[in-house]
């Protein structure tokens, strides 16, 4: 009970402090910023709940520990570092310490730290971690800490994944919706003017783009840089195709029971597309070992022309091949029969540990890093789409290479189930398309087997 009171007190204090600091801290910022915000009129204040570039600093020296995967990445890590550096400038008695964990190893380290009772103040949360966070109950509900008005400033699509059981598990930061990333320059050279809307059109286009560019008799440009590795990366893209064929792998029905979508025709259709693409030779050889980094490299070198992925791949490709700046773009994923496309968010953000002793400072840090100026730094580095509605409106976000991906967000969005055994269901997906590659079974057979496997998983985990 007293916890709620404290939380409410903090929220109120932050609200007042937030508004007050913008105008009152004349020493740090030009008052010209937002003087009109001074009056505490609630409707007008909602708009101001985006900019917290003048945080309320704690009274005594504090160390804020943050577990992050982004800090180790290039160029994305610069965004994390920039947030910390700028925050520490504003609050010199706060030390922001990152615990850098490679994203491939995030699950084992975070889980072990959580079970060992050794979590830092804040930790990076990817949507796939949601089930575990719920089971371990390691997060602090952010709605009281951030305040409902602030929370309303998030894109509701992000919130629909981040709010579970009425609690906000993490503060969404950025998302990378799936679309088809393509080489604009190669499209122009081949005279492609329209985008495929159906699977058939997509395959035809891929065939058209699979050519021998230097006339030495060997094909060296392939239409579809498919991520065919049997892992989460590959399965995520496969599932996007499955979704756009009208099926899915796992979801909860209205009664809370899990059901398998592999028995739907769409699952078979998706497998068929994968099989047809391999047979047609539009995918670069070595597809079973082409993971995310390899497919990006294919696009960067022109070996591949199209790739199903999020906008951050553009950041990676441009870093590998700076000449491609401005020459990448995205169009919505085609669907089996021309229906409106569905995409996935692929968001991540920061959560505050329930065990943290520095929650107030953590909240200040989160609001700071989600201020428009700061969040745009990340967008500039990696083209990831911001979670805050105000930042999404910024021309930097909407124009240029990421436009196609921003539009994808306006369509339908699918959220993965939070079932704890989803990992095994994902395995069924990648085992399925791996079998399709071998060409020994038909798509119908493989879909039937996948359906049986998913049903067994549901039964085993009931």
């Amino acid at each position: 009970m007293s916890r709620k009171a404290i939380a409410a007190g903090i929220a109120t204090a932050l609200l007042i402090g937030g508004i007050g600091s913008i105008s009152a801290e004349a020493a740090t910022k030009k008052p010209a910023a937002k003087p009109a915000a001074k009056p505490a009129a609630k409707p007008a204040a909602a708009k101001e709940l985006n900019e917290f570039l003048n945080p309320t600093c704690p009274a005594k020296p504090t160390t804020l520990t943050i577990a992050s995967a982004v800090i180790l990445e290039k160029p994305g890590g610069l965004a994390d570092q920039n947030n910390a550096d700028e925050f520490m400038k504003k609050c010199p008695n706060v030390k922001v310490e990152f615990i850098g964990i490679p994203s491939n190893n995030l699950p084992e380290k975070l889980t072990t730290m959580a079970i060992g009772g050794n979590l830092p103040d804040m930790y990076m949360h990817f949507t796939s971690f949601t089930g575990k966070a719920l089971q371990m109950r390691i997060f602090e509900d952010l709605i009281p800490l951030l305040g409902q008005d602030y929370v309303n400033g998030f894109d509701p699509l992000f919130l629909s994944e981040a709010i579970q059981g009425g609690k906000l598990l993490w503060a969404p930061w950025v998302a990378i919706p799936h679309a088809v990333l393509y080489r604009k320059d190669i499209f122009e050279k081949a005279g492609i003017k329209t985008f495929p809307k159906t699977f058939d059109e997509f395959l035809d286009l891929a065939k058209k783009l699979t050519v021998d560019t230097d006339g030495d008799g060997k094909v060296d440009q392939y239409g579809w840089a498919m991520v065919g590795t049997p892992n989460g990366s590959g399965a995520g893209r496969f599932h996007t195709i499955v979704l756009n064929a009208g099926a899915y792998n796992l979801k909860e029905d209205t009664n809370g029971k899990f059901i398998s979508g592999a028995s739907l025709k769409g699952y078979e259709t998706a497998l068929q597309l994968y099989g047809d693409a391999i047979k047609a030779g539009v995918v670069p050889p070595g597809y079973t070992t082409t993971g995310y980094p390899e497919a990006s490299a294919q696009l960067a070198t022109g070996k591949g022309v199209m790739m199903i992925t999020g906008p951050h791949s553009m950041g990676i490709i441009v870093t590998q091949n700076p000449a491609l700046k401005g020459k990448l773009a995205g169009f919505p994923v085609p669907t089996a029969n021309g229906a409106p496309p569905i995409t996935t968010l692929g968001q991540h953000g920061y959560a505050i540990s329930r065990s943290s002793k520095n929650k107030a400072v953590a909240v200040q840090y989160i609001k700071f890093m989600l201020s428009t100026k700061q969040i745009l730094v990340y967008n500039d580095l990696e083209y990831r789409l911001p979670s805050r509605l105000k930042a999404q409106e910024d021309p930097q976000v909407k124009s240029g290479m990421a436009a196609g991906f921003v539009n994808a967000l306006k369509g339908k969005v699918w959220s993965d189930s939070t079932a704890s055994f989803l990992g095994s269901v994902v395995k069924v997906d990648y085992d399925a398309y791996s079998e399709m590659f071998l060409g020994k079974k038909t798509a119908a057979e493989i879909a039937k087997e996948a359906d049986a496997k998913i049903k067994k998983l549901i039964a085993d985990n009931a």
Binding site: E108, G131, P285, G423, D431, E435, D460
Partner: protein, 298 residues
């Protein structure tokens, strides 16, 4: 008569005490650090739990699930085949090279250093380099074959089940033979020279000397090597995961991958622990067979 027996038991007692003094430091550390985790593993294999505050006893549920799962057996089979190939390969290559560099021939010391190199690499680096070398578009393997005009279309070694299996076995042997070679080299140092001389006098050639002097002399080390190698490669994860992710279509899928999936992706520690216990028992059985077959006196 009586005094001899009396001396014997006093001797035995002294033996026993000395033996224990020598072995206690190791025992303390291992008991302190490894017994608890293993017992913990046994314990959680019977629980449905989040390992923090929710515990539900489910008995043998996960064991039954596993032992009636065809996919589990399939993975075990693949893992056993993989381990067998790599262990036999390592023993063969390691022994062969140890014999070769045991000779007093020019440049042998340089070769010793070169032959050890693969083992000094971290597994991630080995896996990624070889994956790249095998890549159809960007790898040296295809490049060389093309240049020698041996092929006209790219060969995707890691793309077909059989060649992928052979490929990962090859890379694991590449990485793993040096430790065996090292053990053999150390073992051979202790085979008295006289035995070789005696055999030579009896008219034995190099090959017969190898069979009748070297091999028997290496028996204790061979037993150790076989057991530990089998255990290590049965539990192997990194190189195969990074090269093929267990593909294509599960042809290189190892049991450790599934344990990781259950523990840290599915958060199903009960099942992961049950799998680990099954592996433990399986490997203990295998070790028992080995010691019978290789019939070490001790």
């Amino acid at each position: 008569m009586k005094s001899v027996f009396a001396k014997r038991s006093a001797f035995a007692k002294r033996e026993s005490r000395s033996g224990m003094i020598f072995t206690i430091p190791a025992a303390l550390i291992m008991f302190g650090l490894v017994v608890y985790p293993m017992l913990y593993g046994f314990f959680i294999s019977t629980q449905k739990s989040n390992l923090i505050d929710k515990w539900e006893f489910v008995g043998a549920k996960y064991y039954i699930q596993l032992l009636t799962d065809a996919q589990f057996y399939g993975t075990l089979k693949t893992t056993a085949l993989f381990a067998a190939c790599v262990v036999i390969g390592n023993l063969f290559v390691g022994l062969l090279l140890a014999v070769l560099v045991n000779q007093k021939i020019p440049l042998v010391n340089i070769f010793k250093v070169i032959l050890m190199l693969p083992w000094l690499f971290p597994e991630v680096v080995v896996a990624l380099i070889w994956k790249w070398l095998f890549s159809p578009l960007f790898g040296m393997f295809n490049y060389v074959l093309f240049s020698l005009n041996l092929i006209d279309k790219e060969v995707d070694v890691l793309g077909q089940p059989n060649s992928a299996f052979a490929g990962v076995v090859f890379v694991c042997i590449w990485k793993g033979y040096p430790i065996v070679m090292l053990m053999m080299m150390a073992g051979m140092k202790n085979i008295p020279q006289e035995r070789f001389e005696a055999a030579a006098i009896d008219g034995a050639n190099k090959w017969q000397q190898f069979l009748n002097v070297t091999l028997p002399g290496l028996r204790p080390i061979l037993l150790v090597a076989s057991i530990l190698e089998t255990a290590w490669w049965f539990k192997h994860f990194t190189i195969v995961w990074l090269m093929t992710n267990g593909g294509p279509a599960g042809s290189t899928e190892l049991i450790s991958v599934d344990i990781y999936l259950q523990a840290f992706t599915n958060f199903n520690f009960g099942r992961a622990a049950a799998e680990s216990v099954i592996i433990l028992l399986l490997l203990m059985f295998v070790s028992f067979i080995y010691s019978r077959v290789l019939h070490d006196e001790n």
